[in-house]
Symmetry: C2
Subunit: 479 residues, 2 copies
């Protein structure tokens, strides 16, 4: 067995990213262009993301449902902006059961249209509102440039869809769910984010207003890591989704939708990983602690493995453990492999440790080793996992803060955005004009990421066109 090695992150970030994914067995390329296979290790990470978000959605009163994969082509055309945004990205089924279909079926790129078709049948009165649904599913968008997890033709996600009686409620819901995403990203993914509003040209096709959380990757590029949309009555009017209010008057519902996808796995990889490979946040890691038993002589083996069994029993259901007792691999080989796979904590135990009733703990985030007594191991490990979780967040937050710059001079900005490398986030007064943004993008390849909720309340002039501006925006090169 040859040792698994990845191209160092510092050497070639893009190659490092792809190699880490494949060598850590998170995912692999599928035989269809732009599609991926999520391997067990990657899928277990996704399941932990699902479980975490499901608890959060349940706490906010949302229920899971499942809507069809196929959407009649005519549905997409009912909302003008929506079809304009999605038409270039559609996969279309034209043959079913050997026959040409009368109406082609679109493979869902998102489900607002088909869900509104159903909502229009289910919602009758104000008593039926709010209707708070979510679905976990696959969606397809015919992207030209793809990258594992970040942008694939087919991806997995959850899409929340809600209907409300008032504009205020749908606005509050869109904001609330962005808050859920921020909480999830920061407190579970250890991924610091900037929550804010999307610009007109970056908002969802069919939304009144879109919100997003934006994270900074290890190469200083931005990654939109979750979005939430206030759809207003756009889809309700297109699909006739109405309810009788308390005064018996027919009203259109107010709606939201919001989504987080397997793309978030890309964020975890890129925010935390290092030259040795992945570093997974303990709260989401499929394996939190890997135990590597060490022995040279055969007579030691049984003793060491017995101790491992005892430790495993002691740690019990509170920690997700893997024991690597494979024969024919050196401890060094195993250490390297589990580092590549980003397991937060490694526990080593050999004959010497046994004699002294100790174990060795090696943190993945700091790569520091400590020897600790077996007595009191569980609380020690739980505390260490917490420390790793919070250290990972702090480190990523410090990196983002250190690479976020206030800029008022467009010349300086242009210079920063020159070259292949990304320069981080630039916070600048901006007028909010579509044309102005298009020019900035053309000149620098940077786009507005979001208009942060947190503003200092001051006013200024647009760093590009000089018109009055009331808000600062984050500009960055993005994935």
């Amino acid at each position: 067995m040859s040792q698994q090695k990845v191209t160092p992150r510092s050497e070639d970030y893009s190659r490092w990213y792809t190699e880490v994914i494949q060598k850590a067995e998170l995912a692999d390329y599928a035989p269809v262009r732009g599609c991926m296979v999520i391997r067990p290790y990657g899928y277990a990470l996704w399941e932990n993301i699902q479980d975490t978000l499901n608890s959060m959605f349940k706490a906010t009163g949302h229920k899971n449902a499942y809507f069809p994969l196929f959407i009649p082509e005519s549905f997409l055309k009912k909302e003008a902006e929506h079809v304009e945004g999605f038409a270039p990205e559609l996969a279309v089924v034209t043959i079913g059961g050997g026959k040409e279909l009368e109406e082609p079926l679109v493979v869902r790129p998102t489900s607002e249209t088909i869900i509104n078709h159903m909502f229009a049948q289910w919602i009758h009165s104000y008593r039926d509102l709010p209707l708070l649904l979510n679905q976990w599913c696959n969606v397809v968008r015919w992207e030209l440039r793809t990258r594992l997890f970040l942008r694939t033709l087919e991806f997995l996600w959850q899409e929340g869809h809600t209907a409300h009686a008032t504009a205020e409620e749908s606005e509050a819901e869109a904001r609330r769910m962005l808050g859920v995403y921020q909480n999830f990203a920061e407190n579970f993914g250890a991924v610091p984010v900037i929550p804010g509003r999307k610009s007109e040209s970056e908002k969802f096709a069919g939304a009144v207003v879109s919100y997003s959380i934006e994270a900074m990757m290890g190469d200083k590029r931005a990654l939109q890591s979750g979005t939430s949309h206030n759809l207003g009555q756009n889809f309700a009017k297109a699909f006739g989704t109405q309810y009788l209010d308390k005064n018996n008057v027919l009203q259109y519902v107010w709606q939201t939708s919001w989504g987080l996808s397997t793309r978030f796995i890309g964020a975890i990889i890129m925010v935390h990983g290092d030259d040795q490979g992945l570093i997974l946040p303990p709260k989401l890691a499929p394996t939190q602690v890997v135990i590597v038993p060490i022995w040279r002589k055969d007579e030691d083996k049984a003793r060491v493995l017995a101790a491992v069994d005892q430790i495993k029993a002691d740690l019990g259901a509170q920690v997700r453990i893997e024991v690597d007792d494979r024969e024919g691999f050196t401890p060094g080989f195993k250490f390297n492999e589990w580092e590549l796979r980003g397991v937060p904590l490694r526990l080593e135990i050999g004959p010497k440790d046994l004699e002294q009733a100790n174990v060795v703990l090696a943190r993945r985030d700091t790569r520091q080793k400590v020897t600790v007594p077996q007595a009191g191991l569980l609380p020690h490990i739980l505390q260490t996992l917490d420390e790793i979780q919070s250290n990972m967040f702090t480190r990523a937050k410090d990196f983002m803060d250190a690479n976020t710059f206030d800029v008022s001079d467009y010349g300086q900005f242009k210079e920063m955005m020159q070259g292949e490398e990304a320069a981080g986030f630039v916070r600048a007064y901006w007028c909010g004009d579509r044309g102005c943004e298009a020019q900035i993008k053309e000149e620098t390849r940077a786009t507005s990421r979001c208009i942060p909720f947190e503003q200092d309340g001051t006013q200024g002039v647009c760093f590009h066109c000089g018109r009055p501006a009331t808000e600062k925006v984050i500009f960055a090169k993005a994935y």
Copy 2:
């Protein structure tokens, strides 16, 4: 609010089935022919099925993964029987991103082909075996006659795919996983089944041998409720899925696949339901106990609701509870609605019960009410739920046994199979010949369901053609 009523099961079974599904809000028709929307109540049932099976799969060493929705058309053609079986049922994507595709993409009807493509890359040596994977996903089969849950164009399922070093191992795996399905069906779904082998003409396209569990619905028709296939080396040879054995010789792997789908929800509905609607087995029911607080005077309301809160807290995390404290609905209306939705146990509590420190428990399966003291309520409820679970199984088993007949005379069989109604299961000696089965099907519309593992070891003659027969087979009209 008008009372929800379903057509009695005894009056029109087929209409009852569809009405129950829609009125209990398990599912609804989608705007695309043959597709369905799974509503939150139905999806929660599916999630409980998923959780239960996931635990069982984990215990048998299987890991979840995710393979792409799209399969190149050429892949299906690599295994001759497979393409013959699935070609008439395919949905085909011919347009992507506005352009005609060079090679059309098939929407997966099942994933043996694309999974073998990946297995061929991942499997190198005997050390990589066995490879035990499972995926939860949607699949599409272009069925002409569809019915909610039982047969829909798109359905949700899990499909297990495994690769092994020897023929014995793949055979053992196929049998083991059928055992998992039987355990699940009987001990969680309370659905008694007959496990056995499929006939040549009923087996999976591409399998060496197929196994199934067959259940009897309330109208005495059979429903195949889970299947498991020993694929031999058929797909391995088509895709070059090989490994180096311990002697460094290249060998093709031996494989299995096995699946259970949202169809099982149809089985639960049809095996257990009655004129009042659904009856859900406690182990899978989204809500196990519904609490209906009863009050007439306003001054009673607060007291009753306080008691309900206390009961809910006492029952805690061990029981899945719903409290129906909606205003403006009579208790009778609520009772009817929760019966329609099949909640196993209803707890009623009013001012009188409060005075006597009692509650009323109404079982859904027997529709019997008992008054029990609030003290010791949790163990009482847990025991009652167990009793309901086991009573439901026993009742269904008795029904299946009472409607399973040993027949040796084909004339008698033909008479039994006459008319629209189904006559139950017929157990008969049969030769196993394809042509013979085709004739029986043409003459009676009955098909062989499975050759039960349990045989009495005797020999006889085929009840249709008179040739020697060594096994008895179950024949029935089936969904």
